[in-house]
Subunit: 198 residues, 2 copies
Amino acid sequence: MASDTRSALVAAAAELLDQGGPAAVTLREVGRKAGVSHNAPYKHFKSKEDLLAAIASRELERQSETMNALKPQARPIDALRRLTRGYIRWAQNYPARFRLVFGEWKHDSHELGEAAGKSRAMLVEIVKAAQDAHQLPRGNPERIASLLLALAHGAVDLALAGHLSATGKGAADPDMLADDLYALLKKSSQTDRKYRRK
Amino acid sequence: MASDTRSALVAAAAELLDQGGPAAVTLREVGRKAGVSHNAPYKHFKSKEDLLAAIASRELERQSETMNALKPQARPIDALRRLTRGYIRWAQNYPARFRLVFGEWKHDSHELGEAAGKSRAMLVEIVKAAQDAHQLPRGNPERIASLLLALAHGAVDLALAGHLSATGKGAADPDMLADDLYALLKKSSQTDRKYRRK
DNA sequence: ACCTGAACACCGTTCAAGT
DNA sequence: ACCTGAACACCGTTCAAGT
């Protein structure tokens, strides 16, 4: 199914993407790197966009693998924090892949949506566990997962674009903002507990 | 300073951007729309990227104008909420401009950074006012402004990419997530008040 | 100072042809 | 089924030349 040249093409394209952004991913250069002609990719991908979508899918699958490997953790809230940090690190180390995964997709790529859904489901599970341990406030776990994801995503995207760094006292990097949100959630969950004890 | 053809070129380019994304912004089409030759843009902009940066600057300036026009509001917290909603609406109505403004910039465009800083400063002022009225928790106002901005930005970016819509019960749009964060901040500021009264 | 038309190198995509 | 080489249309950019 996943032929040898196909994955070689994806790997070559990902390398070019990291080095010079989407503009550097030319089918001619991809072919050269993979040792085939400049239009051999058309036997494996419908178009250049389809090749880029394959990179994005690969990235999302790797993310869910990383999430699986990271699961066993004493406190669920610590697993969540670690996950958040991992997400931020990934975006900062591979900004081009990060932007590709969350960029616009005309050919709405069913495969991509499924890979994203899988990661999401795992995230929601950990949120539920943290709620059961009273480390997160009550409420719809999917909603809280979205809140955490949106903040981490927005913080790192702004940071990459240089729109976050107020130099000096107010300076905040993505990790700090994530910590702020976790602190707010913790405070809120403590209020929840007080109610529960009444 | 802002010559007539220059702004005509920017307007034409913005229109093309809205219609078909950055790929649709070809200098030939921009020239045609503005009634000049396909390389007249080079007398006003160093490159295509420079033209795109001009669109981004224009957009940021318009944002700070909108913020100025919106300022007089009874409760500062309401002004903040309105600002958040405006930001989300803008991104949803003009996704291509939104992505352009927060995309990557090689030629790091000093002009762009200044326009962004101006909007930021206004946002921080309103946060301060809300803190003084005990509608937001204490703490560094720049930090809280970053938190609000990061969440709104991340939520709307995820929504545009289709990575937010868990259908069914857990479904959350950007406005709902912003409301969640405001609720957490309100709760936290009430705890602050209790401390203050002791 | 601003604009034009021709030209160059490069890219995505298609096609006829080979194994 | 997979690959190749030539060809086409298009694009960003440059250049010589015009006002």
